[in-house]
Subunit: 454 residues, 2 copies
């Protein structure tokens, strides 16, 4: 009887410290108004963005994902999750699984092994651009110390939004010649933007009228309600298809403390660059005039912006609720101020005590990223090979040793060292392929990625 | 040696009389201009409508169908083909097969057992409305007598066309409340219509301008080039999603000789009704003034037409090629002249010598077709059950005796005889189901279908 008692205690302890969080999700299109213009949006359980998963490190996430689309397959990728021991749950169609067919349910089962700000998104066709995304927030495990101190937190998931349907966008991009989709119509903050009006129209020289929202308007911004003299953690993540972004909060410094799920050495900044797929946490202290409200601006960087900035408001609860800020929103840095971008990147260092990168490597890959033509179709290539995802997922072919699943020969491991990215060859012949780099277990690979897109 | 010789002759004879016609087809979206307005069209081998299959009775058709769509499944149904001994080739997603996934190839293999005018079309979601259709023409077997006499033939595949994408149409129709798609923007003849102009503008009081076509315009009508004093077989089929149609040829009588792949007792008519899924052959004799051209009009019936009629021209090669007809196109019969429709239907009798229907039946199904609400969603129902196609195709569940594939209990075999279709109950509760009617082999079933949609 003594032994039996010990076993029960052990199970209870385990349950308390690492929960299983189980969700039933249904994905379907709905007509929504993300930027005050109606469009087809991919929803999860009728929500856009999809439900936020809040977990703690060590938890097991179980998502039973049902495809309620009429004719399209579906997967969800858990961006930033390392999937240690759960490669089948990574959610990349053609790589780790077949797309889930309409009417079918697939169960994702994985552990979130460390704290961090993450998100999930569709990873089949352009379904991410249709709004199939949501946040995945992992807090420190119970009983472990959170190294950051803050009084409250907000979560801002940033995205870009087109009025053209994703199937039409995809057809244009894969047409010969490529038909460019153009810049996004709107930047969304938590799925909300304003295309045909502005919440800061009174400060603008543009002709955009002032937004008039009705109760429950899907495009009304979510304001951040804060108390004076507190510190807030603002979690940021960008699911954009195209736009690099910059976020600034009027009158407030930002202390960057987390990048892509890793604690970093904190640094102070006036504004923060955020590229597609990145996530950050910043700490903001409400140390400004508590009788005022303040703009939060999200502008486009890296491309000449034709998309207006997204705006919302940092609302001090001590300030008039209905009053907008009294001065114009901050203008985020010039799109082509690349020195500033580089300087920002150079400020990011791992937090003290973070594990060091391996001091030595066993293998090296040198990858050149180019945009090429194949028979008049525009394709991206790595070392002159453009990926054509095979019909059978790689992981299945490897697991079941299917010789015909893909080309088992390695693609080139480097490119010609006399390739001049400032003066690339005009007509560079590229081929399609689906080969993979294979390595023995437990080797360290040094990957150098050279972007030749100038 | 004598035996061997006989065997070779037998094989050669078989090959000559019943060919195997094999096709490799790739389906993908293309930007096209079906009615002079650009839209996304589903093409087969870059063609819209898809390639015409010309076969003779007894041929085996083998189509290797590759899905080149980005994210959507795909099937093709061979409308009018009896699929004797080849149920797996019928191409109804969820019934006889799973949809073919992107990147995959499925082979349809079936025999066309008797002559007739048929067509094929997508049978998954609303892909037929995206233009996934083409003609399947089966002529009499070599050495057999074609009972019809004609000097040439034409093939007119009729369809309706919306500018809204099929995914958006489908979402609207399945929304709560249902969002109606409205009437089609255009009627197409062999994939060609004119939305923003008219080829008969000079006769019209409408403001539509006269069409100006450039060489190779995808929306320019295909004119029918005929010689005087000949008889032509015009094959007609309708793939419309919504519109019932009527076709008339200015100044010419039509002799109806085939209906849905069956020879009928010929009858003369001024114009011909054709409903979705139907096919006909009519004989037209070019006995009119050979110095003139004549309009062919295809108008909407059964619904108040907001879609302009489709037009093309019967061009006598003896008439000026560039001259339009000198008088206005025929106006097809009033949309709501239901007596005329019924009279037309009553003229259709099987050709003499056709096999008679079975004189007796063993089982009877009485089906009432209603439009109902389920939780606010608009659904059609038969005997109060609305079909929800199961994830596993019926044929697979039956073949492999999968008890969980669908509900093996029979749906109701009749409806209440006091149901008044002229005064239907206001709130009729309907359920979804996927049960099937099962019968022993070789019984005759009498099916009575009552359409209660008034």
């Amino acid at each position: 009887m003594g032994m039996w008692w010990i076993a029960v205690v052990a199970i209870l302890t385990h349950t308390a410290s690492a929960a299983v969080r189980e969700y039933n999700w249904e994905v379907e299109y709905k007509f929504r108004w993300p930027d005050c213009i109606e469009g087809m949006v991919m929803t999860v359980n009728d929500q856009f963005p999809g439900p936020t998963i809040n977990a703690v490190a060590g938890d097991t996430i179980v998502v039973h994902l049902t495809n309620k689309l009429a004719t399209e397959g579906l997967v969800i990728h858990w961006h930033g999750i390392r999937q240690l021991g759960s490669p089948w749950a990574d959610g990349a169609a053609g790589v780790t699984q077949c797309a889930i067919n309409p009417g079918e349910t697939f169960t994702y089962n994985f552990t979130v092994d460390k704290p961090g700000t993450h998100f999930y998104h569709g990873h089949y066709g352009m379904q991410r651009s249709a709004g199939l995304y949501g946040s995945l927030i992992v807090d420190v495990a119970e009983g472990k110390r959170e190294p950051l101190r803050y009084d409250g937190e907000f979560n801002l998931l940033l995205s870009d939004w087109w009025h053209e349907s994703i199937l039409s966008q995809e057809l244009g991009l894969s047409s010969k010649p490529m038909r460019w989709i153009g810049e996004a119509q709107s930047i969304l903050i938590n799925g909300r933007g304003q295309f045909n009006c502005s919440i800061a129209a009174q400060f603008s020289n543009e002709s955009s009228p002032s937004c008039k929202f009705k109760d429950g308007d899907q495009c009304a911004p979510q304001r951040l309600h804060v108390e004076p003299n507190k510190t807030y953690r603002i979690r940021l993540a960008s699911t954009t298809a195209l736009a690099s972004l910059n976020l600034a909060v009027q009158g407030h410094k930002l202390v960057v403390v987390e990048a892509d799920g890793n604690y970093i050495t904190p640094f102070v900044t006036d504004d923060i660059d955020i590229y597609s797929g990145e996530s950050y946490s910043v700490l903001l202290t409400t140390d400004q005039d508590p009788s005022q409200n303040y703009w939060i601006s999200v502008g486009v960087r890296g491309r000449k912006p034709k998309t207006p900035p997204a705006l919302t408001v940092l609302h001090y609860v001590t300030a008039p609720s209905s009053e907008p800020p009294t001065s114009p929103p901050l203008v985020t840095p010039q799109w082509n101020d690349f020195e500033r971008s580089k300087n920002f990147s150079k400020k990011i260092f791992a937090a003290m005590g973070s594990p060091s990168p391996p001091p030595k490597f066993n293998k090296r890959l040198i990858l050149l990223n180019t945009q090429n033509l194949i028979d008049g179709f525009t394709k991206w290539a790595l070392n002159n090979v453009s990926l054509a995802v095979p019909g059978t997922p790689y992981l299945g072919s490897v697991k079941y040793k299917l010789k015909s699943g893909f080309n088992w020969k390695s693609p080139p491991k480097s490119f010609s060292m006399d390739y001049d990215i400032m003066n690339p060859p005009r007509f560079r012949n590229t081929t399609q392929g689906n080969g993979i780099y294979m390595f023995p277990f437990n080797v360290t690979v040094d990957v150098i990625l050279q972007n030749a897109n100038v």
